[in-house]
């Protein structure tokens, strides 16, 4: 089987009258680098297509002087041209020709082109061109008989070279071009029967392919959605810009609570409104009774970027739904922080809500255990905790291989004060799960920012 370039060489040799050529000639004609021709020659020889022969060649090359003379003519030619058939004084010629005159006079006399009388030069011919110039113009005419004078006049240099000559080994050779791409024509015309199919290097690494794939962290969020849906929860969504009323006040977070200071949530200019005035009043009463201060409606109407997805739960409650209810939301929340390997200013939470008659604290623990089991956290433990809107409150710790116990969720029974404010006469439990750090641990990432990497190669290479 011959390669494309090997076929080209064989075809070229076939086109030559004596079916042979030097490597250099082949390289020049086919535009293949000389070094490739050398290695291809060996391959063709091994396959029996060519004979190789090395031949010593004498090569004549023009010196700088030679190149100059080819351009200007030999000094004696210049002299005859300058005389233009008239005799002239040497001093006059010296001025015209400079140093070259000496050489010109010498060779002109030797070639019997002039004679010198007293101080004048008399031309014997009207014009003249040296045969040397012809040779310089076409160095292939230089041979053993005429090279010596050129060499003596430093017009050429002589080089010995070894040339590689390729000759077709067999006269009757016919080359069949192998098939590279299988085309419709090849199939239809049965060309695959007439020519071999070129082999590929099938063991080599392939070129790059930009595979389209889903984002691993988005997929993780979808998996969490499926876990919640499969556990019988209905999805709800909310907006990023939220009233403090839903983000804090309805959740029994006092207006002078440290979490409500300006460095703990992103503030948005403007004010919103709460149309349910009865709800506003009840929330006011709840704060007055529980925290013993004057609740300020204008603070509740301020806008923030929601700092917890519990704001969505809060909206569900404020719609005064009829139990039984099981809802969840997964979404972004925003908190001012300094961004580093474990902190982001926007991240995700999963919030869940159960409102059912007789829903007890142990039932809540059972729901949490099941959620984490479905996520893949098989071992969890519960720690008493404090959140303004739940009582009893609990933090869930999950065991992660190689890391130990990691805090994963905050939960609790909703405070009766809140249920009373929204007018729900039932029992309720709620929880929030921080997702990003959990994903980071489960994916084994060292830097939480990689969940939002601005690097397409990272996404292409990441195998979640």
């Amino acid at each position: 089987m011959l390669s494309e370039n090997e076929i080209k060489i064989v075809e070229y040799l076939k086109s030559r009258p004596n079916k042979s050529a030097t490597a250099e000639e082949i390289s020049d004609s086919l535009g293949i680098p000389l070094s490739s021709i050398y290695s291809l020659s060996q391959l063709l020889k091994e396959k029996g297509y060519v004979r190789l022969e090395e031949k010593k060649l004498t090569k004549y090359e023009l010196t700088d002087e030679g190149k100059l003379r080819l351009q200007r003519g030999m000094p004696e030619d210049v002299l005859i041209k300058t005389l233009n058939g008239q005799s002239r004084k040497i001093s006059e010629l010296k001025e015209l020709m400079g140093n070259e005159l000496e050489i010109a006079l010498g060779w002109a006399r030797r070639k019997n082109l002039i004679k010198i009388e007293k101080d004048s030069v008399i031309p014997l011919v009207k014009d003249y061109q040296s045969p040397e110039v012809d040779l310089l113009r076409d160095p292939s005419k230089i041979n053993d008989n005429n090279y010596k004078q050129l060499l003596a006049r430093k017009l050429i240099s002589v080089k010995q070279e070894t040339a590689l000559i390729l000759s077709l080994a067999r006269e009757d050779i016919t080359v069949v071009k192998p098939i590279t791409y299988i085309t419709t024509d090849i199939i239809k015309n049965h060309e695959w029967e007439k020519a071999p199919i070129k082999e590929y290097n099938v063991e080599a690494e392939p070129p790059f392919y930009p595979l389209a794939k889903k984002h691993f962290f988005k997929e993780f969020l979808e998996k969490l959605r499926d876990v919640m849906i499969n556990l019988g929860f209905t999805e709800v969504k909310g907006n990023y810009v939220e009233l403090e009323f839903y983000n804090f006040d309805l959740l029994f977070q006092a207006q002078d609570h440290p979490a409500r200071e300006i460095h703990d949530s992103f503030m948005i200019e403007g004010k919103g409104e709460v149309k349910d005035l009865e709800l506003m009043n009840r929330v006011k009463e709840m704060h007055k009774k529980g925290w013993k201060y004057e609740w300020e409606p204008n603070i509740a109407l301020r806008l923030v970027l929601r700092s917890q997805t519990t704001a969505v739960t809060s909206r569900v409650l404020s719609s005064r739904p009829r139990p039984p209810i099981r809802t969840f939301t997964i979404g972004k929340v925003f908190r001012p922080d300094s961004i580093d390997a474990t902190h982001l200013i926007e991240f995700h939470q999963l919030d869940g809500l159960v409102v059912e008659n007789g829903f007890a604290f142990r039932d809540l623990l059972g729901v949490l255990k099941e959620i984490f089991y479905q996520i893949g956290i098989k071992e969890i433990k519960f720690k008493p905790a404090y959140f303004p809107f739940t009582e009893p409150s609990v933090e869930v710790y999950g065991k992660i291989e190689g890391l130990g116990w990691v805090e994963m969720s905050g939960a609790g029974l909703l405070r009766p004060e809140i249920l009373e404010a929204v007018g729900i006469d039932s029992d309720a439990g709620a929880w929030g799960i921080g997702i990003d750090r959990l994903a980071m641990l489960l994916f084994g990432l060292k830097d939480i920012r990689l969940l939002y990497a601005n690097n397409v190669d990272f996404l292409r290479n990441f195998r979640g």
Binding site: P210, V236, N239, V241, L243, M267, G270, I345, E356, E417
Partner: protein
């Protein structure tokens, strides 16, 4: 959450327990423990339990949990001869005071006392705005009649850690505490002051005490002043402080507080009563508890409890348990005394079917089609900066960095930024993202989320059609009827931009080649075609 550092051996020796056991006990009291060095521990205390912000408070709680002592701790209290006269102070109207005698301080307990004061300032005191505390060496106070009143800023005294007298103004301007808290209560050139009736200043609340009454290891008797903007809060703070000191072995001595609106003895050590039934506790926790066991658990939580009738009991709430607002708070205490580790989670019961929102269902469908069209999914931040964003958008009043100052109103700028970062990656780059932008809307906040799908291709050579052919197939497969209409967009080339129109009337997206001028401004050297589809507007009868 607040962290305190305590001397480990004090806790371990007084409770006769190991460090591991202490760690477990504190875990069950909501607290996590971290070792600081071989003598000290850092303990995380929740904001609802200021009574646990010092070692004596922790010891009191653990003694209950370990059943070493049950019911409320009783402290010796008697009336004394000191008085606090409260005059009109506009910026912090309330002041109370109390005395604790017979305290034995050493280097560690003195440090912890000052830490206790500081942590109370941060939590219940809302960084001294709501409540501020001054603790003095009683024996260095020369008069029994203390006065709370306003003084002029040129009033002189020697503040803590200074050798000479300064004016109040100088204290506010030159000391660290002055700079930090000096502006809280000063008004019209006057500041609140606690002083002896002879004019000698004890403290300038909420800023600093005087050097004169400085606490030392030799200090045995304490005078405590608490000032603030809420009488409930200052009174509770004094209760917490004096009872915790009494737990250390001190004796509480009441101070007569005289004001125009209130005149009584402090600390008030006011107890409240709450009735609760064991049925309620059982129902909330999900366990069948007898009335006797509920009483036992409440006594472990250091409450005095008496049976009323049937399954109803009466609980006496000690003054320092400021977290007990309603019955449910007692339920939590019972659960904690049982131990969360002993509460077996109920087995999960599926009650009805769950469901995703319509938007989630549609988003999932579009994501599948987008992958089929050859786009890699990316995930960018919603927060961005106002340099590259066009039109009307939501600004953050208090951003933390110049890179994140606004919420995006479109996914195009965040996608272009993503592409800018990837000019050295292998081309072609085909990416998409489905995410939210925030726009103005007719809601109770005036804003709403708008879900968008953005698609783009960046390559050494790319055209409108390269993207349009893909988008076309995605939209076709969503089963909506759509067409293209020539349009203009500030970022896109005129003549190579189209709007996507659904049902011949509603604009549901835009597609076009990014203008070279925009690319140059962004520092992008490759051509980009981009399209944004408004996903929420696609949802209709057919989808």
């Amino acid at each position: 959450m607040v962290n305190i550092i305590v001397y480990k051996w004090d806790l371990l020796n007084k409770l006769k327990i190991s460090e591991n056991e202490l760690e477990d006990l504190l875990f069950n009291l909501k607290s996590e423990v971290k070792p600081v060095d071989q003598d000290h521990l850092e303990i995380e205390i929740n904001n609802d339990r200021p009574d646990l912000l010092s070692t004596p408070g922790i010891i009191r709680a653990i003694k209950g949990l370990k059943k070493i002592e049950l019911g409320e701790a009783k402290y010796e209290v008697k009336q004394g001869e000191y008085s606090l006269k409260v005059e009109k102070v506009e910026t912090r109207p309330y002041a109370v005071a109390g005395i604790v005698r017979g305290i034995n301080l050493d280097e560690d307990s003195l440090k912890e006392l000052i830490q206790f004061q500081e942590k109370l300032h941060i939590t219940i005191g809302r960084k001294r705005k709501k409540v501020a505390i001054g603790i003095h060496d009683l024996d260095k106070i020369t008069s029994k009649n203390i006065v709370y009143r306003e003084v002029q800023l040129d009033y002189k005294f020697t503040p803590l850690n200074e050798k000479r007298e300064l004016t109040v103004k100088e204290v506010l301007e030159s000391t660290e505490q002055g700079k930090q808290y000096g502006t809280i209560s000063v008004k019209d050139g006057r500041t609140p002051a606690i002083m002896e009736d002879n004019g000698s200043i004890l403290s300038i609340p909420p800023v600093i005490n005087s050097e004169k009454t400085r606490l030392e290891i030799s200090t045995r008797n304490l005078f405590i002043d608490v000032t603030g903007t809420s009488l409930d809060a200052v009174s509770a703070t004094l209760d917490i402080l004096t009872t915790n000191l009494a737990e250390m072995g001190g004796k509480i001595e009441l101070v007569k507080v005289l004001s125009e609106s209130y005149e009584t003895w402090y600390p008030q050590l006011k107890h409240s009563k709450m009735k609760i039934s064991s049925d309620y506790v059982s129902k909330k926790i999900g366990l069948n508890l007898t009335t006797e066991s509920v009483i036992e658990y409440l006594r472990m939580a250091r409450f005095d409890v008496s049976k009323v009738q049937g399954n109803e009991v009466e609980v006496i709430i000690p003054p320092y348990r400021v977290d007990i607002i309603s019955q449910i708070d007692l339920v939590e205490d019972v659960a904690m005394m049982i131990g969360y580790q002993n509460l077996e989670p109920s087995s999960f019961k599926l009650t009805r079917l769950g469901a995703a929102t319509k938007l989630t269902t549609v988003t999932r469908k579009i994501r599948d089609l987008s992958i089929g069209a050859g786009f890699t999914e990316i995930f960018t931040f919603v927060l961005t900066n106002d340099r590259d964003i066009e039109g009307d958008y939501v600004k953050i009043v208090n951003p933390v960095t110049v890179d994140y100052t606004v919420i995006r109103n479109s996914l195009i700028p965040t996608t272009l930024y993503f592409l800018k970062q990837n000019q050295h990656s292998k081309m072609p780059i085909l990416v998409f993202e489905i995410g939210d932008a925030v726009i103005r809307g007719n809601t109770d906040t005036g804003y709403l989320n708008s879900t968008r799908a953005v698609y783009s291709i960046m390559d050494s050579k790319v055209s409108f059609e390269d993207l349009q052919s893909r988008i076309h197939q995605i939209l076709y497969n969503l089963n909506i009827s759509f067409e293209y209409r020539r349009a203009e967009h500030p970022l896109l080339i005129k003549g190579r931009t189209a709007e996507i129109i659904k049902d011949k009337e509603q604009v549901v997206g835009i597609i076009g080649e990014v203008h070279p001028q925009v690319l140059e401004k962004l520092g992008i050297e490759y051509p980009i075609v981009i399209s944004e589809i408004y996903v929420d507007r696609l949802i209709g009868e057919n989808l």
